[in-house]
Symmetry: C2
Subunit: 334 residues, 2 copies
Amino acid sequence: MERSREPRLGDVAARAGVSVATVSRVLNNRGYLSQATRERVSQAIEELDYRPNQVARSLLSRRTGTVGLILPTVALPFFGEVAVAVENELAERGLRLLLCNSFGRADREREHLDLLVRNRVDGIISGAHNDPLAEYDTIRQPAVTIDRELAPHIPNVRADNEAGGRLATQHLLERGARRPVFLTSRSHERNLRERGYCAVLAAAGIEPIVVTAEFHTPEPERSQRVHGALDALAEVVDAVFATDDLLAATALEWAALRGRRVPDELRVIGFDGTATMRSALPGLTTIQQPIAEICRTAVAVLAERIGTPDAAAASSDAVAAVELPVTLVAGRTT
Amino acid sequence: MERSREPRLGDVAARAGVSVATVSRVLNNRGYLSQATRERVSQAIEELDYRPNQVARSLLSRRTGTVGLILPTVALPFFGEVAVAVENELAERGLRLLLCNSFGRADREREHLDLLVRNRVDGIISGAHNDPLAEYDTIRQPAVTIDRELAPHIPNVRADNEAGGRLATQHLLERGARRPVFLTSRSHERNLRERGYCAVLAAAGIEPIVVTAEFHTPEPERSQRVHGALDALAEVVDAVFATDDLLAATALEWAALRGRRVPDELRVIGFDGTATMRSALPGLTTIQQPIAEICRTAVAVLAERIGTPDAAAASSDAVAAVELPVTLVAGRTT
DNA sequence: CTGAAAGCGCTAACAT
DNA sequence: ATGTTAGCGCTTTCAG
């Protein structure tokens, strides 16, 4: 195990009997090189197993080739898939991924943001789930959000949540539901899935019922809270539209424990449709988000704003928001 | 939106009317400083919202404060939880996480490894699932693996898989199973869960039956393959020990489709016990891995090998492998 | 207590 | 076609 230090440009140069500039030229394939030196240098590089120090390159070029991704937690399948998709798209452009899990905590996000700036990432993608941080305004690197309203100048890429909410609710009604309950993390004005749900119910003349269970409540409290709420609604509820598939699973579990037959006595539809949840609960009806497309778009927009090393200032059509279409995946629970 | 360039040490120095060296001293709280300058500098830093360029610091200190984590894919709950736990432990030590998803592909892992070295990460944690890469021998940065035999000099932290295999199989037999099938990704000598399964069956005088379904086979092929195998075994199988909870879910789905009552006609036990799968299938009996502890240990061992900036060469008791105990979580499927 | 200057590993003028 | 040199932004001797 060679504990010698990492070889540098100088080591390669010495071995090939040329100057560091020449080695650099070979490395970056720039300027005129004789075939002979090119080969000598390449061989020296190979022999030493030399790999350019990206840190030094970054200092000089003022680009690190790194993008920071802030998510609540990749332990959840949706964000895990987002992380994977984002990493793939970044890799396609020669970019690396610095991962940050904020757990919905503003202080965590603030710390991460500060660290990303110190590390001079070329860009930031945020899908955090806490209230917007003012710090994003003071930041110089381009940013893009995934399913998050952050600031007017920060593009937001997401699924068409409102359409998803409508689609889900409509589906439940078509299946015969008379009183669908909406299960969500937080209920508020800008909850688009909730808006879609309410819109469809309003059109049908049905009073909405919204049950909330905070996103980051640890188990088993969160399930308990949901079960308790459903117990209280036992008389009226005959269907559940959950804002994510995990919450839908909790509703299914409630049905199992209370002996309610699904879908006859309780219809359940979820949201997200991640591969993991499709495997875990293949029978669950859900609204599938186009995760790969969302991430592809987000990275494309970000890359555009980062610009290539040379390309001074790209056209930048100032994308404000992109909404991608969702799909209903019909299962056995509705 | 200020598009001015990022402030540097010089900007702070100018504003505070001191030299860059003094600012650096304030920043790192080193050497003697008069209270007056200390305050003047601090104020300038604040006013400019100055954040030290970590790239420059890294070049000088030859430490990036970054650790590379290579996993098959954080889209799967187990690896997602690993990523989160690792990030938490790293953050505790002021380290950042560069995430790499290899999808079980050696070429992907090789590329990632190369990139990590070029970026001069301080250490590498690998939980990739393909065959060992020879490249790990030529690498200068300390490495640790999670649930992976890589090389003699690379410590491996993992759950006690063999005990888990025994525990699961024992449990099935105790519940009355007479012919438990083992469902896994790849069957081989060093598959410790399989070894545990076989050991218990041997002691009971039962012939093992191992069904494989490659890890990275895309859905729905993978499920199809499992269903087909179970159909072929329909006459004999009365229990399934799956190597992970997702595969257990597939077995449950098979039972649902074929009208087999669980647990009476088919007992199912999984492996991993991630929070997500506990939520998705609260009734599933499973062998729970101590993910947080595994990651805490892995990071501790790695941090030890990285050493503090000063601490020349730590004691390094040359940890070779650590096995952490698993737990049986009894549910309704056995 | 503070400043000047060297240098981390690399690239990009500018020479030759 | 190749070498010399000046930084990238920071920390750290070494002077003063």
